[in-house]
Symmetry: C2
Subunit: 407 residues, 2 copies
């Protein structure tokens, strides 16, 4: 990929993505796949005024090795210096940039129970710190091609060509045009208008139906609002948490969802694929799951903690989204979630409550925002998906018809 194009993408991530402010600190999380691009992002952060940029490299192959070779006890231990890093971040509130490039299937051979137990143990220490940081720092997830991921998406291309094709797909769907900053401004205006309309309706419940068997009702909170694209930290810094982002989303009310949903795309969770699956809800809780592949992983996932079986997000994405229209199945949630309507199990968004800045995190959770150590999107949008809203005053308003916006 041409350096000048990559430079624009790096600039987009640093400015529109996390929107680094003068004097801020930045953490960049990256695999070893694209060091030159990682250096570009670091440089763009410095140019934007960052006082200190830290790059934290990781390696999925080593993560597999550690999982296999460490005892459950060692794997579950958060070292004193890892904990100190979380505390430091809660204090400093750095911008966090996550550059995803992992093989979506790269952890297929590791013991998922062992991974889950380790995450649960470490999260006991991390979660209170992460809660403290919630909505207080800018973050952005974006992607760069890894070789194994590229081969998964373009299995018939040789490695080099597959990487190039994945770069192309990432840059196009991320709106890295001649002027990506302007493209994102326009895109954010569109998304904002959709939210305004939906928030004006006073929606009480959404009802999803599709010929694939999906028939599902979910209740929103009285104060649920729809959000999309860019958002603000509680300290007033604007940022775009996902590049790309096509979704309009809200947090539903915990404990009020009924019916069954069928996944329309595979899901990569902790480097393991789950395919052709369904989830049935009763009283808001996932009570029955089936999957042709990865059912065990799915069961582990919804058992991570109490909130892992409840919903944290309902997101609306038209079937005509540019990412779905690219015809590429990315096997990566950052992209696939923007190709189809989806739900998320786990943690909800306090920011999807009207005037959320007036409430504490505990108050937001009392209102019905779900809490969990996980937040996992799974795709349910289809070509024929209909969604109807029932408003607080009893009207039924069509939101989606045949997979696309009905308004």
């Amino acid at each position: 990929m041409k350096k000048s194009v990559l430079r624009k993408y790096a600039h987009l991530i640093a400015t529109v993505g996390v929107n680094v402010k003068r004097g801020q600190e930045v953490f960049i999380y990256a695999e070893l796949d694209q060091p030159e691009f990682v250096r570009m992002v670091a440089e763009e952060c410095y140019k934007a005024g960052a006082a200190r940029v830290n790059v934290e490299w990781s390696d999925q192959a080593l993560a597999c090795l550690h999982t296999r070779r460490r005892s459950q006890k060692v794997l579950s231990t958060l070292t004193s210096y890892e904990l100190e890093k979380w505390k430091y971040q809660a204090e400093v509130l750095p911008c966090k940039i996550y550059l995803m490039s992992e093989d979506p299937d790269g952890m297929a051979k590791v013991n998922q129970k062992k991974v889950a137990a380790a995450q649960q143990a470490k999260m006991k220490l991390i979660k209170p710190i992460r809660d403290k940081m919630e909505d207080r720092y800018q973050w952005c997830i974006a992607a760069v091609p890894g070789a194994a991921w590229a081969k998964k998406v373009f299995p018939h291309l040789p490695k080099g060509k597959a990487i190039e094709a994945l770069w192309e797909a990432i840059l196009t769907t991320s709106r890295v045009t001649d002027d990506p900053v302007a493209a994102w401004e326009e895109h954010n205006r569109d998304l904002h208008d959709r939210c305004e309309y939906l928030n004006g309706l006073g929606i009480r419940e959404l009802h999803y139906t599709s010929k694939n068997g999906t028939d599902f009702r979910v209740r929103l909170m009285d104060e649920s609002i729809f959000a999309a694209g860019g958002e603000y930290t509680l300290t007033g810094n604007y940022f775009n948490p996902n590049i790309p982002s096509e979704e309009v989303f809200t947090s539903p009310k915990r404990g009020e969802a009924e019916g069954i949903v069928y996944a329309s795309l595979p899901l990569s969770y902790n480097g393991q694929l789950i395919e052709n699956f369904s989830v049935r809800f009763e009283n808001g809780k996932a009570v029955e799951v089936h999957a042709e592949r990865g059912e065990g992983v799915l069961r582990e996932m919804i058992a991570m903690d109490e909130g892992a079986a409840y919903l944290g997000e309902c997101a609306l994405v038209p079937y005509a989204s540019p990412i779905r229209e690219s015809g590429i199945l990315f096997y990566n949630t950052l992209f696939d979630e923007n190709a189809a309507c989806h739900l998320a199990l786990g943690r909800g968004f306090g920011g999807c409550v009207r005037d959320h800045e007036k409430y504490s995190l505990d108050e937001l959770r009392e209102k019905g925002v779900n809490d969990s150590i996980i937040h996992v999107d799974f795709m349910i949008g289809t070509e024929d998906l209909d969604i109807d809203a029932t408003t607080k005053d009893g009207r039924v308003v069509p939101i989606f018809r045949k997979g696309n916006w009905a308004f």
Copy 2:
């Protein structure tokens, strides 16, 4: 390079190098150049019984960027979590493996004064912790080829071939034979015999002369002993701190060295080359330096702290060493120091005092072991170097004649 050969090298580093014991923790420090090999070393450490292996990746290009872009204050700050990691290590005493692959000239363009000031500031916090760990943990420095380093060593080869040639050179000089473990056992026996002979002489002073102008006398401590190859931690774990290693070395007595030495090889310090230089000593201290290239860097180096201008090591390496005979100039101290007799400015070795385990670090320093935050070897061995020892009972014994052992 063939995977089976690299596997032997990885095994050598894990077993003969740091000699990981069951249940120990390991830190591996590596640049991004050879991730597959780094994974092999991690795996060999686990196989040897490591409970936890941590890989700490770094990137010289990012180090340059940070140095340029961070303010002096930010660059000089050790964060709370970095400090906590040092404390953790002083507690856990992990094995440390350093896999060098940096461009010897990679930091040429950064402000060396800024780097030095930052190191000095951070070392104030790190040094007491590092002193606490001294002689208590196993460590090993070994090398893997980086692209820029390979091109520096083999400028006429294209990149891929240069990397392959550097692998070949590293593996040959590191004695990665069919049975590297046996080769190292035999090599260590040879080095041990040399030390026994030298330690039996009761050497008081060494006198170096060469036609290049070197004429230099250095006094040893009454209890100085020569060491080489493998050594023991205070807790009794055997390890080989350098792969390769050809030197027989001791710590001289701080404050007693007179005369001038001329460097016989370039020196890469903090990613900057110093070439064709000389150092003149008075009362043990470097009082005058000249260099055709990098004189400023050399001056910064000896001004790092009070001990940086005093000697910490005298090492004897025959001109007929296999590394010198390879005819390759590595521009890397790990190799070049094993191609020629050398001295080191800065920190001395407490382990080079007879019965050192009976003394505290402070007591060892009182005996004349130099202290500093730096320890930098520079090469003075030539084809015609003569070294004479004056013993405590007044005999003059030839140690080197024409660059090689005289016994």
